[in-house]
Every structure is written in structure tokens, then in C-alpha cells.
Amino acid sequence: MARRKGKKDSQAIEARREALRRRDMRVKEQERQARRIRPLVTPEGAALNLRVATASERAGAFLLDFSILVITVIAFSWLVAIVFSEMGFRGWQIAGSIAAVVVFLLRVFYFTFFEIGRKAATPGKRALGLRVAARNGGRLTANAVLARNFMRELEVFLPLTLLVMGSEDAVGAWTRLLALVWAATFVLFPLFNSEKLRVGDLIAGTIVIHAPRVKLKKDITSAEPLATAGNHTFTHEELDAYGIHELHVLEDVLRQSTPEIKAKVADRIRNKIGREASPTSDDLAFLEAYYAALRARLEQRMLFGDRKADKFDTR
């Protein structure tokens, strides 16, 4: 009997240790995310928290834009070739020339055109919720957009040219390798500074931020109280079992999970606060009631200057 109890204890200790470890990881991740935030104080004196786009988001946006460029060029020259050969001209030669002109115009003006526009973002950037902004919070000028995009020549097209360029002998190959390494410092530049600036951003005084559109959803507490919700009232002890982090997790669960997950979460909460699941009870109603009560409790405590970060935060 004693041994079994000991085993149970050690299991509990193990579980708690695991929970604490996960909490540490979460806190670290939060700190990492917080470092991405650049506060911008508006002339009204309010601080907006702008998030710097990550290197991978920017690479993704660029790949999208680049694919759009390539597809446009191919489609365009194909079209011109067809039209011209229908009319009896030497289609391919002229199509080649026209395609070259189109490549030139796209290469110079594609990024600039979209970034000067109202959304300050190319289609690729828009798809990933990015936009260009001035680093000092002021206006994004057309000059800045021009400057940041002409540097692309150095960061993208020069390395690409080096890649496709052939070399006849060993010396040529070595030169090319060195040139590639040198070009790579520009390509990889955004990885080595905290604001993920490329050389173009540095020169233009711009920054790329992540500001996706968010839809305002219904407040969970605004749902008409279900018939059974009245049964759920919670004591302060029951509500103090959790903190703000758990509240946010619960919000996510209520907004987007499946009924099975909701049932599981409801079970865990009941376990934690020591309630029995009555056979008639509705999990969703229970969760919504608990969410509303927990939020009210935590918001009230917050108004008194007491933020309970998570369930481990006991003061």
C-alpha cells in the first residue's frame, strides 16, 4: 500500500516537473516574440505594437512575388509569340525581344509600383500579411521605396547572375565562388540583425512589419446563456486555479476546436477544480460559463494591478 502511494507521489512530482519545464519553454518563447515588437508612439501619444516580420515570412513573400514575375513573363511572351505567328511574322524572335523588355520593366518597377501603392505591399507581401513602413514611424516616401528596391539588384539579381554564369577554367570557378560568398553576405544580411533589415531597408530607412487583418469575432461571453448555464456558479477558489495564459488557451479552444477536444478540456477543468461531471451537464455551456467567470475574475484582479500570469503564479 505504502509503495503504491509512493509511486503515485513520484508520478505527481514527475508530472509537475514536466509542467514546469513546459512553462519555462513557453515563457522563453513569449520573450522571443516580445523581442519582435517595435513600439511606435503615434502623435496622439498611444503606443502601437508593430511586429517585425520574420526572415522566413519575408523569404516566403519574395518567393511568391518572384513566381508571379516568372509566370507573367512566360505567359506574356507565349501570348506575343502566338499572336505574331498567327499574323505571319517571325514570332519567336520578336517575342523574345518583347519578353526581354517586359522582364526589364517588371524587374525595375514591379516591387516599386506595388509598394508605393495604397497597401505598401506587393501581392506576395499582402498574402503573408506584411507591409513596408518607415522605420521612424513617419511617412513612407516614394523615394524610400525606390531606394529599397534598387538595392534588390544587388541582393537578388546579382547573385542569380553569378549562379547561372558559366566559367571555363579553375581560376574562373574560384573567382565565381568568391563572388558568390561575397554576394551571400548581402542575401543573408537580414538574418543577422534584430529588425530583419535587408541592405535596401538600411539605406531607405524602412522596415517590413507583420500586420495581418484580424476579424473581430463575437465576444464569447455575449452568447445567450444556455438553459443549463444558470447551474454553473463558481467560487473564488475554483476560479483562482487558473491564470491569464490558461484563459487565452480556453478562448482558443472555444473559438476553434472540435467538440471532442472541448469535452476533454471540460473534463480536465472539472478535475482541477474538483467537480463531478453530472450526466445532464453540457460541456459547452460549462466551458462558456467557466470562461466568463474566469475572465471576469481575472479582469477584476487586473484592474487592481494584480496580473495572474498563469496557474503557477500564486501570490
Binding site: P43, A147, F150, L158, L216, S222, R255, R295, E299, L303
Partner: protein
């Protein structure tokens, strides 16, 4: 516990309609432009914007609804960029660029321009003199693939300067080829590499000058100097001017990094970068014009006289456009 009493809920209930209104206005403005906004919208915008910003600061301290906070953050950021964004239309901006910004930027960068010109033409002169004295120098400055080298005969060289029969495909081909020619790459690279203290820009300009100088020396030594000059400068005035300006933009940036003065390097780089961007944008436009002149003008015009006239005409035009004193009292 009655959830209707919750402060954050009432807070939201009272303001939600205004947020949605702001959202609608900003969305419409982003999609169709400021001009499509009605007068009521324009009047309501500043009030709604300020209210949303104050809601955000308040929501941060009283609400724990993640979705609400994220929504307000992005709404305020979008509205902020819109309210404090630029207002000029694309057309007005382009007009201002040609009327004022471009020439002012170029004439303001007179020292870097002279430096770039010195590098390019100094290199050209050096190679020209050396190759005139000893044709073997040509091979030092150029690789062997060009058939227009010291070993070529008079007749062949002369034939490359004039075009007997022209058709549209050839002209278009020449035009397109010109856009991607060595020279336009040099121009853009000279700008882009400027921030390495301008050193790569110097090397590129001198190197380009060397190859032009040695190339000219080949024709001059065969007695084709005057013909070549017409052939080269009908578009070369514009093209070389563009290269010089691109180099100047590179030097501006290099100078900003090397000698930031009282500013921080980043700040100095940013201020100069915006000016240099105007210059390089202009250089790209000039390269485009040069390509048109080369692709079409040079193929169609085979008279030396006309070629010279165009060359001198373009030179006078560019100099007057950039450096003619003009009033600067216009507001931004």
C-alpha cells in the same frame, strides 16, 4: 455571476459600432483610394481613428479577450498608416519627380557626379592613349570574344558602324539587347555597391572606361575616329551620362557611410539613400531612352551629320535640364 456586468464587455458593446465604421472606411480607402471616400467618411475618420487608438490603450488594461486586442492592434495600425500616410496621387508624384525632384537631386550631387565622370573618362583616356601607342594593350582591357579588335580590317570595322537594311525585328532585338547590356548592369551595380565605401563603384567605372577607351582606340588607329564617334555618341551621351549619374549615386551612399558627420551612420545612410534613389531612378530612365536611341535611332540614321546633331542636342538637353538654375520656392 452575471456576465453582463463585466466591464470589458460593456466597454466593447459601447464602442464596437465605431470600430466597425472605421474598419469599413479604411478598407474602402485601401481598396479604391482616398478619392472614393464620401465627405461624411472623411469627416468621421479623424474622430473614429482617435477613438480607436484610445480604445486600444484602454483595452490593454481592462480586457483579456485576445481576439479583441489583436483586432484593435491591427485596426489602429492600418488606420495610422492611412491617416499619416502620403496623400499625393501617383500622377502628381510622377509629375513632381520630373519637374523638380530629379533635376534638384542631380544638381545637388555635383561633386559625386564629377568624381564619377573623372573615374569613367579618366579610365577611358588612359586606355585610349595606351592602346593608340601599342595595340597589344587592347587585349589587357578586353577579352577576346569581340570581333572588333586591332586585328580586324578597315572595311569590316566600317561595316559595323552603318546599317544598310533594317527591319523592325532587328531594331527591337537591338533595343532589348541594349536594356540588358553590359552598360546598364554596370550602372545599377555601381549604385548598389556604393555603400561599400564607394570602392567597388570606382573600380567598375574605371574598368568600364578602360574598355570603352581601348575600343575607340581600335577605330581611331584605323582612321575611323569621326565615324565611330558619331556611331557611339548618338546614344552614348545619354548612356554614359546615366552611368556617371549611377556612379554618383553610389558615391553619395559611400560618402554617407564613410563620413556621416554628426549623424549616426544609419541615419546618414538613410537621408542620403533617399536622395540617391532619385538619381538612380533617373539613370534607369536615361538608360531606357538610350536603348531606344540605340535600337531605333542608330539603325535608321546612317548620316554622320545627323548622328552628331542628335548627340550634341541630347547633351545640351540633359545639361540644361539638370543644371539650369530654377526656383526652389515650391512647397513639398
Amino acid at each position: 455571476m452575471n456576465d453582463r456586468v463585466m466591464k470589458s464587455y460593456r466597454f466593447r458593446e459601447e464602442r464596437e459600432a465605431d470600430w466597425q465604421a472605421l474598419d469599413r472606411i479604411v478598407t474602402r480607402a485601401e481598396k479604391r483610394g482616398v478619392k472614393r471616400l464620401s465627405d461624411e467618411d472623411m469627416l468621421a475618420l479623424p474622430r473614429l481613428y482617435r477613438q480607436a487608438v484610445s480604445s486600444l490603450s484602454m483595452a490593454r488594461s481592462i480586457s483579456l479577450d485576445q481576439n479583441l486586442l489583436a483586432y484593435l492592434e491591427t485596426l489602429c495600425a492600418r488606420a495610422y498608416f492611412f491617416v499619416y500616410g502620403t496623400r499625393a496621387s501617383m500622377g502628381a508624384r510622377i509629375a513632381q519627380y520630373f519637374r523638380r525632384d530629379w533635376p534638384v537631386a542631380v544638381s545637388g550631387a555635383i561633386l559625386p557626379t564629377l568624381l564619377a565622370a573623372l573615374c569613367l573618362f579618366g579610365g577611358g583616356l588612359l586606355a585610349f592613349v595606351l592602346t593608340m601607342q601599342d595595340p597589344e594593350w587592347f587585349w589587357t582591357f578586353n577579352s577576346g570574344w569581340d570581333s572588333r579588335n586591332p586585328d580586324a580590317g578597315y572595311d569590316y570595322l566600317r561595316s559595323t558602324l552603318y546599317t544598310e537594311e533594317t527591319n523592325i525585328a532587328d531594331m527591337l532585338g537591338a533595343f532589348a539587347a541594349q536594356l540588358f547590356s553590359h552598360n546598364s548592369t554596370i550602372a545599377v551595380t555601381a549604385f548598389a555597391l556604393g555603400f561599400c565605401l564607394g570602392i567597388p563603384t570606382t573600380i567598375l567605372l574605371i574598368y568600364n572606361g578602360l574598355s570603352i577607351g581601348s575600343f575607340m582606340a581600335v577605330f581611331f588607329s584605323k582612321g575611323l575616329g569621326a565615324e565611330l564617334t558619331g556611331w557611339l555618341f548618338i546614344h552614348g551621351v545619354t548612356e554614359l551620362f546615366a552611368i556617371v549619374l549611377a556612379g554618383a549615386a553610389g558615391f553619395m551612399i559611400g560618402g554617407a557611410v564613410a563620413f556621416p558627420g554628426k549623424k549616426t551612420r544609419i541615419q546618414s545612410l538613410r537621408d542620403t539613400g533617399n536622395q540617391a534613389a532619385l538619381v538612380i531612378m533617373g539613370a534607369v530612365i536615361m538608360l531606357f531612352l538610350a536603348a531606344l536611341l540605340e535600337g531605333f535611332g542608330r539603325q535608321l540614321i546612317n548620316s554622320d551629320m545627323t548622328r552628331y546633331t542628335i548627340a550634341i542636342g541630347t547633351l545640351i538637353f540633359w545639361l540644361a535640364y539638370f543644371y539650369w538654375p530654377r526656383r526652389t520656392d515650391e512647397a513639398v
